[in-house]
Symmetry: C2
Subunit: 349 residues, 2 copies
């Protein structure tokens, strides 16, 4: 049993963990471990938003970003996912990961220009860029099993052994190294800067992003049926709540997406990504919303019962970023897109 917080990020605590030192979780979970030389990671979401199925021009944009990923300074890993949003638009989101901010910055200028900027071909579709570049003490990962890293964990040097800080409410916070010394409370107000057809959102401190995924590709027979009939509908209900009503509880936006291949073929993987006013708001929803309470209860039972024989793979990554570790830009997107909701909330306040 090891701490989710790697040794080189442990500090003298001013804040306690929620569990005692002898706490033993009821099933194993694992976290991604970076080399200690990694100081910062980059998670960059490139979205295309179209009124119906993506047009040829939108497809071309996606092909362009995929090819541009291959250029110098491109990401170590990327994947793509799709969903239909609350306004009925199809969104295809391509997320790419780096473990070097300098490399990303060098690569990003032209990518940005091509995606939301002057060089964007006008094709009747919206585009957006949402980027976090957190220092490594400001995010955490969690995996239910080894052998298939997802998201930012693909960048990792290795996976941990069984970690202690999971399977209780508060584990998410306790896995973030900065929780040793900070409450990570939000501060400031988000606002928008209009720049031609683009809107940039200047965020507040300690906004929170979660990417939380599931992979049922390996499940068979009864386990597959259990996931698809018992778990997925409850998960979808929770995701729909956040998408449609999240603003009332501090969730700016939620996308429950199906992972697709580069050519758009759906896989047996999905993930929800949601933007939050604070880690605390995410905690409260997770702990108290009936749909998520049921998801958590089902997952506890499922993983405690099936143990290592479970074929369903679950993972997430959660970041609490400083204002200057966030970048948001939207071009021709509808006003309920992503962090534009944070601005509306701020304007209304």
């Amino acid at each position: 049993m090891e701490s989710a917080i790697p040794e080189h990020l442990r500090t003298a605590r001013t804040r306690h963990r929620r569990v005692p030192d002898d706490y033993a979780p009821p099933y194993p979970s694992f976290v991604a471990r970076h080399k200690s030389s990694v100081e910062r990671v980059v998670m960059a979401y490139f979205g295309v938003q179209t009124p119906g199925v993506p047009s040829k021009a939108a497809e071309q944009a996606m092909a362009w970003i995929a090819s541009y990923f291959e250029s110098n300074g491109g990401p170590i890993h990327w994947d793509r996912a799709r969903y239909i949003d609350e306004a009925g638009f199809t969104n295809v989101v391509t997320v790419a990961y780096w473990d070097d901010r300098v490399k990303f910055d060098g690569w990003f200028a032209a990518a940005r220009d091509g995606w939301t900027g002057d060089r964007r071909s006008i094709g009747g579709f919206g585009t957006f860029i949402e980027v976090l570049y957190p220092s490594v003490d400001r995010y955490e990962t969690l995996f239910s099993s080894l052998g298939r890293p997802e998201g930012v964990a693909v960048l990792a040097d290795s996976m941990s052994g069984e970690v202690q800080e999971h399977a209780y409410w508060g584990g998410m916070r306790d896995r973030i190294p900065l929780s040793q010394t900070s409450e990570m409370a939000p501060s400031g107000m988000a606002h928008a800067i209009h720049d031609g057809s683009r809107i940039r959102v200047i965020p507040h401190d300690n906004a929170c992003l979660i990417r939380s995924g599931q992979d049922w590709g390996d499940t068979e027979a009864s386990e597959r049926e259990m996931y698809l009939k018992d778990v997925e509908p409850v998960l979808r209900e929770g995701m729909d709540f956040l998408r449609d009503n999240g603003r009332s509880i501090g969730c700016y936006a939620n996308r429950y997406m199906t992972v697709v291949t580069a050519d758009g073929t759906p896989s047996e993987k999905s993930y929800g990504m949601s933007w939050w006013k604070s880690l605390s708001a995410l905690e409260r929803w997770a702990e108290s919303h009936p749909t998520h309470v049921r998801i958590f209860g089902a997952a506890m039972k499922y993983l405690s019962t099936l143990g290592p024989s479970a074929k369903l793979r679950l993972y997430h990554e959660v970041t609490v970023a400083r204002a200057d570790e966030q970048f948001f830009e939207y071009a021709d997107c509808h006003p309920q897109t992503g962090m534009l909701n944070a601005v509306q909330a701020a304007d209304a306040a």
Copy 2:
């Protein structure tokens, strides 16, 4: 909105609350407020254990303690409840409350002698005494509504306004004033002292007691049906788990009891009382056991939806006591009774 911790018990914190200062619970709850002159309360459980329905002698013992409560130094409040335990014995538990340790001590000597001691009439039944006398910084209460205090809250000077620290996991701990500065971790080992036919359990530090009650007497029609058909069976399942399997997770004993009148007539009130190795063990069960997760989810939904119109009354009191704030004595009880389980656990260790 006020803190559950009364002003005179607030101290400079070395440990943080689990929620931010702007946390707003989704429904109201209230706590008992003692006069600031009250330094300590006493909760004394007097049990009778019989193989079948209480014998005439057992009934006489219960009548005796009830009459002795009326004598000088007797409790401010008492009530009685009944259940059938895991060994098939009927237990009738009479609990009495004081807010003055000195008064209790003066009263208790003869009560003890009459209940578990030499003056006990031998009648083919077991008796036990379980007492906590916590300082006021070592316990908390919580009520879903005003107007009908139960348990230790009957001693209170008043009830609070709406408190902030509830409706999230960790609220129980955050309401205990000592949580401002202490983890309240258990330490030491319980052991038994045999004294003739009596067994005294010398407990460890920071053992934990919860009394958690429900009163459905005021519910009507659909709310009554919802409680009896949807909530109570789930609650019972959780209580049965703790009674039968609690030892594996740090619950020494659980009694899910029906409150009865002095003459034994069942009321529409029940409460569970359970002894725990630690507050932390209680927290883990409450947060992760499927039955309690369902209870909590149902209660959150129920109280958030019905709001003040809910007629179901819920309350609890939770104490974390020092070893010298606990007293346990068992006479002719079977070995799975109450804190005798703590000793068995200790002996086995």
